[in-house]
């Protein structure tokens, strides 16, 4: 319950932060909301010698609209996203997802950047950024780069970020005409994380057929993933119940499904299919509403 002792650093600039991280290498860790890292340190699952606190980099906490995108600073808390009027209008999937995270205290402290960088296999944000086909932007002493969400999650709690790279922004394309999105989550009875969490984005053609489907699933495998098989099954098909059912059946295909005391792999796969269907249904409903709006 008591973490290993460490040195604490408060960089004033982003450059200083990534320089420190480069200097400490594997011994250093960024600290954002601390709601994943500190528990890990208390359990001694993580024992960084140097903590580099990012929370003073206040200009990394923002939500703004820029052209066809909404840009969210990595240090933006779950709560700010949940309560953002701009997002409720431009990208309601994000507030909808934020609402499902932990409790009020967690949402007040935890950040979207920390959540993504931590990449817990049952965290909620990964599903949303996958389905939204967001771009994740990072800065290191080598400069800035962007990564597609589908390339960001590498393995169990492993991302494409280098150890000296600071995740700075989540850049989300706005949904077009006739597009709907939804997040369906089953809370894990013990942790409150996702037993299964499915984010779905559906764009419908004027004739009611699926133009584009993007589905991000968390909680089911070692990392959050795009359910490409579900997407392909829907592509070009009319969004009927039968097609949604058939597509959802592919939700856990090819995934090494998690098992724990609360759900065997078999049951979790079943839940993935049920919640995928539910997310698809909700997204289609919204897409239809958006088309007629």
């Amino acid at each position: 319950m008591i973490p290993q002792s460490f040195e604490y650093h408060v960089p004033r600039t982003l450059e200083e932060a990534s320089r420190l991280a480069a200097q400490f290498g594997a011994d250093g860790k960024f600290l954002a909301g601390g709601h994943s890292l500190i528990p890990m340190m208390k359990l001694r699952l993580a024992a960084p010698k140097h903590l580099i606190d990012l929370t003073c980099l206040r200009d990394l906490a923002y939500i703004r609209e820029e052209g066809e995108h909404v840009r969210i600073g990595a240090l933006t808390t779950h709560f700010r996203i949940e309560s953002s009027a701009l997002l409720k209008e431009k990208c309601p999937l994000l507030p909808e997802t934020a609402r499902e995270i932990g409790d009020v205290q967690v949402r007040n402290r935890g950040t979207i950047g920390g959540n993504l960088a931590h990449s817990d296999p049952a965290a909620d944000w990964p599903a949303a950024v996958l389905a939204l086909e967001a771009e994740l932007r990072a800065v290191s002493p080598r400069g800035e780069r962007g990564m597609a969400a589908k390339d960001f999650f590498v393995d169990l709690m492993t991302t494409a970020l280098a150890s000296d790279e600071v995740l700075v922004e989540i850049k989300v394309p706005q949904l077009g005409h006739g597009t709907g999105a939804a997040y369906a989550k089953l809370h894990h009875p013990a942790s409150g994380y996702a037993m299964v969490g499915v984010a779905a984005v559906i764009a419908l053609r004027d004739n009611g057929a699926v133009e584009r489907a993007a589905v991000g699933i968390t909680g089911v495998g070692p990392k959050a993933y795009r359910a490409f098989a579900v997407e392909t099954a829907l592509h070009g098909k009319p969004a009927t119940q039968a097609h949604l059912n058939a597509a959802a059946a592919h939700a856990a295909e090819g995934v090494d499904v998690n098992a724990d005391l609360y759900a065997s792999a078999e049951y979790r796969s079943h839940l993935a299919r049920v919640y995928t269907r539910r997310a698809l249904e909700a997204a289609v409903k919204r897409a239809r509403a958006a088309a007629t709006a």
């Binding site: 009875p189 013990a190 005391l261 759900a263």
Partner: protein, 777 residues
């Protein structure tokens, strides 16, 4: 012992607990809050093996580590102990063998926790690993590598009871049903982890132990025995306790380890368990397999019940012999069953020992029985409430197995729940996915027979009235959050006609308070309550006598009311309590009074083997209706509402009784829906409160409590048990509601979504094979 009370009586008053303010402000002290100068930290080395012989042990490196002040091992502490005289099979530290992962091998006292932990890593133990037993039904077949050499087939105890004649009973039955129920192990999960502070005074050879215990008296006896000290040199003090639920109702290894370390180190030692160690110490509700056979007539009248029960007790006896007996004995005293047979096996396995947990021994049997009764009702097309009404007891009565039942509020509990829950409008009539279920349960108000048989009263209370009229209760009874202190203050205040503020209480300090056997088997209100009333009456009598003598009036012309001694029948006298107390104190200078309680001979049960467990001076009763919503696609259950009626005899403090009843229901909910101690080869996989998920306020439905007051003729002001009896009914009422919602019966706990889903799938397949035979949809 009931007595009419005046309007301002504290009996029946919704008063906050007398220790509530200290608990809320943090001023109150729990064991882990205590410190002493020069105090050391104790840590215990636990076995990494489920079953192994200790070939040798080397503690020299640990002893040499700077900051280490004492290391103790089994070689120094060979005296066997156990809570039951028939089950002395534990030693403070293992002497020759370890019997479960977590067994206690050695302990260290050091100047800091870090040093103590380091020292543990320096202790070298050479183990010869033995084959281990994890499943009770397999363990019962064991011929070799027995867990205890003197327990053939790893059977701790078996009992075979037969009352009436079940063969004849089944012959009279129109319908006989047989089912197998499997209830896995669950544990107390009290918020406060166990903690003990021990100080040994080498000058006068006295030992003082502050511990989070429900049983200071038994702890004192066990400390003296295992440390081989005279009992009068041992003092046990119980500070505030943050929940027990049975997990602190026997001697827990850390209590003895802290004392041994303190004596050896010559300095005070505190040990507080980590949460994982709390799970390893266990003493939870054992896994229980119930094979139950019940016969009924077409009208639903019970003709015979036969139960074969196997309990997985873990590596030591603990309360095990009592648990297995309760599981059979309390098949009775709820319904009128003319023929009962019980075969019970308490089996040893290489896992942490089980023990007493809220509803001790009765919960899983009650689940099985009530569930089977509901299944029978549905097959016979009878209303589940009606089948219960057709099998009620007719007290006062003595059951086949010699349990005496006087007060019996169960019929009223049933009626009130039926009415409040809207049972008639709902059962079988809600839309698919929604359901309501019904069940009942009962429990003892203390065991009529003490653990160690003797003529000593179950509970004794001393009372002093100071020269200013302040009253102090000295009681051995142990407040563990259930309201023990508050109840005693209330009954004494009521007897003496005083405001509560005028009554203080000193409790659970073996050097200052007389013996009460402890907080287990729901005995405190009944037994310590009666003892407190007796002490108050003794004080009252002494004061009235003294006043009568001083003023030359007849004692009958005096009464005590509103904190004064008043004359009646034309006698104009009016004295304050202080004046009366000073008169009664006389040349002794102080007024002391005392009272005690022991169970009446008639309540102590029969003489057959095992007859001692089950008898109680009074039984509480509970009926419940649970409403649920089931998502048939995922098997998820949401509990929407619970209506519970509990017959507590008389609610001395309705607020507190309601709290106890709701707490019981919550614990039942947790066991029904999600709790299970999950083992893999003897290792607990979920030894933490995040992983072992109890029901919390978050998932709690509205629980509506109805208090039924059957006024027990022997209870204090008519009161009986309130803290345990409502737990058991929650489980079968909930599974019944699931049946009502989606048409499947689940006989294995917990009722996880996955189990429900599987049952639904099986049901669907069965219906595809034989269309038209399914239950209602």
């Amino acid at each position: 012992m009931g007595e009419t009370t005046t309007q301002s009586s504290p009996i029946g008053a919704r008063v906050p607990m007398v220790d509530a303010v200290d608990k809320v402000t943090g001023a109150g002290k729990y064991a882990d809050d205590l410190t002493l100068p020069g105090m050391l930290v104790g840590k215990i080395l636990h076995s990494p093996h489920a079953h192994a012989r200790i070939r040798s042990m080397d503690t020299s490196a640990a002893e040499r580590l700077p900051g280490v002040r004492a290391v103790v091992t089994g070689a120094e502490t060979p005296v066997k102990y156990g809570i039951l005289p028939v089950g002395h099979d534990e030693t403070i530290f293992c002497v020759d063998k370890v019997r479960y992962i977590g067994d206690n091998v050695a302990a260290v006292a050091a100047e800091s926790e870090a040093i103590a932990e380091h020292a543990l890593r320096l202790i070298r133990v050479d183990y010869e690993v033995l084959p281990a037993y994890f499943d009770p039904e397999q363990s019962m077949q064991a011929e070799t590598n027995l867990i205890h050499d003197d327990r053939p087939h790893n059977i701790e105890r078996e009992y075979h009871h037969h009352f009436g004649n079940v063969e004849e009973g089944f012959a009279q039955a129109d319908y006989i049903r047989q089912d197998r129920f499997d209830c896995p192990e669950v544990t107390h999960a009290a918020l406060e982890p166990h903690s003990t502070l021990a100080r040994y005074d080498a000058e006068d050879g006295t030992l003082t132990v502050w511990s989070s215990t429900q049983v200071p008296y038994y702890l004192k006896k066990t400390l003296a025995a295992t440390l081989q000290m005279p009992e009068e040199k041992v003092r046990v003090i119980k500070p505030l306790v943050g929940g027990g639920f049975g997990g602190k109702s026997e001697v827990i290894p850390l209590e003895l380890a802290a004392a041994v370390l303190a004596r050896k180190a010559g300095a005070p030692v505190k040990i507080t368990y980590t949460r994982e160690e709390v799970f390893l110490a266990n003493r939870g509700r054992p896994r229980q397999i119930v094979e139950l056979k019940t016969g009924v007539t077409r009208q639903g009248k019970l003709t015979a019940v036969e139960a074969r029960i196997i309990q997985d007790g873990g590596a030591y006896c603990g309360y095990g012999v009592v648990t297995i007996l309760y599981s059979g004995q309390l098949l009775n005293a709820m319904y009128d069953i003319p023929n009962v047979k019980f075969d019970g096996y308490r089996v040893l396995t290489n896992k942490p020992a089980c023990g007493a947990m809220r509803g001790h021994g009765t919960v899983n049997t009650r689940f099985a029985f009530e569930q089977q009764l509901n299944r029978i009702a549905s097959v016979l097309g009878l209303d589940p409430v009606e089948i219960r009404r057709r099998n009620l007891l007719h007290p006062p009565c003595v059951t086949l197995n010699n349990l005496r039942v006087l007060s019996y509020g169960y019929p009223e509990c049933i009626d009130r729940v039926v009415e409040r829950s809207g049972w008639k409008e709902k059962y079988g009539k809600l839309p698919y996915g929604k359901g309501i279920g019904f069940a009942g349960s009962h429990y003892v108000s203390g065991a009529a027979n003490p653990i160690i048989r003797s003529a000593m009263p179950q509970s004794t209370v001393n009372l002093s009235v100071d020269r200013q009229g302040g009253v102090t209760i000295f009681t051995g009874a142990s407040e563990i959050g259930q309201g023990s202190d508050t109840v005693q203050v209330q009954v004494v205040a009521a007897e003496l006609g005083l405001p509560l503020e005028q009554v203080r209480i000193v409790a659970a300090d073996t050097a200052r308070t007389p013996v009460d056997l402890g907080s287990y088997s729901s005995r405190v209100t009944f037994m310590a309550g009666n003892a407190a009333i007796a002490a108050a009456r003794d004080a009252k009598r002494r004061m009235l006598q003294a006043v009568a003598r001083a003023y030359g009036v007849a004692e009958e012309d005096l009464l005590m009311e509103g904190g004064r001694v008043l004359g009646r029948n034309g006698c104009p006298l009016s004295l304050t309590l202080a004046e009366a107390a000073r008169l009664a104190a006389g040349p002794a200078g102080v007024l002391t009074a005392r009272g005690s309680y022991n169970t009446p001979e008639e309540s102590r049960g029969g003489t057959f083997k095992g007859a001692g467990v089950g008898p109680s001076p009074a039984y509480s009763y509970s009926a419940q209706a649970v409403e649920v919503t089931v998502d048939p696609e995922t098997g998820r259950v949401t509990v929407d509402r619970i209506v519970v009626a509990h017959d507590c005899g008389k609610a001395i403090n309705p607020m507190n009784v309601e709290g106890q009843v709701i707490g019981s229901v919550w614990m039942g909910l947790g066991q029904a829906l999600q709790e299970v101690v999950d083992y893999e080869n003897g290792r607990i996989k979920n030894a933490g409160l995040l992983e072992y998920r109890t029901a919390s306020t978050l998932e709690s439905p509205p629980v509506e409590t109805i208090l039924v007051e059957s006024n027990d003729p022997e209870g204090p002001f008519g009161a009986k048990e309130a803290g345990e009896g409502s737990l058991a009914a929650t489980i079968p009422a909930l599974t019944h509601a699931i049946y009502d919602a989606v048409g499947v019966w689940i006989d294995t706990l917990p009722v996880t979504p996955e189990r429900i889903l599987r049952a639904l799938q099986e049901k669907q397949q069965a219906e595809w094979k034989s269309p038209g035979t399914g239950a209602r949809m």
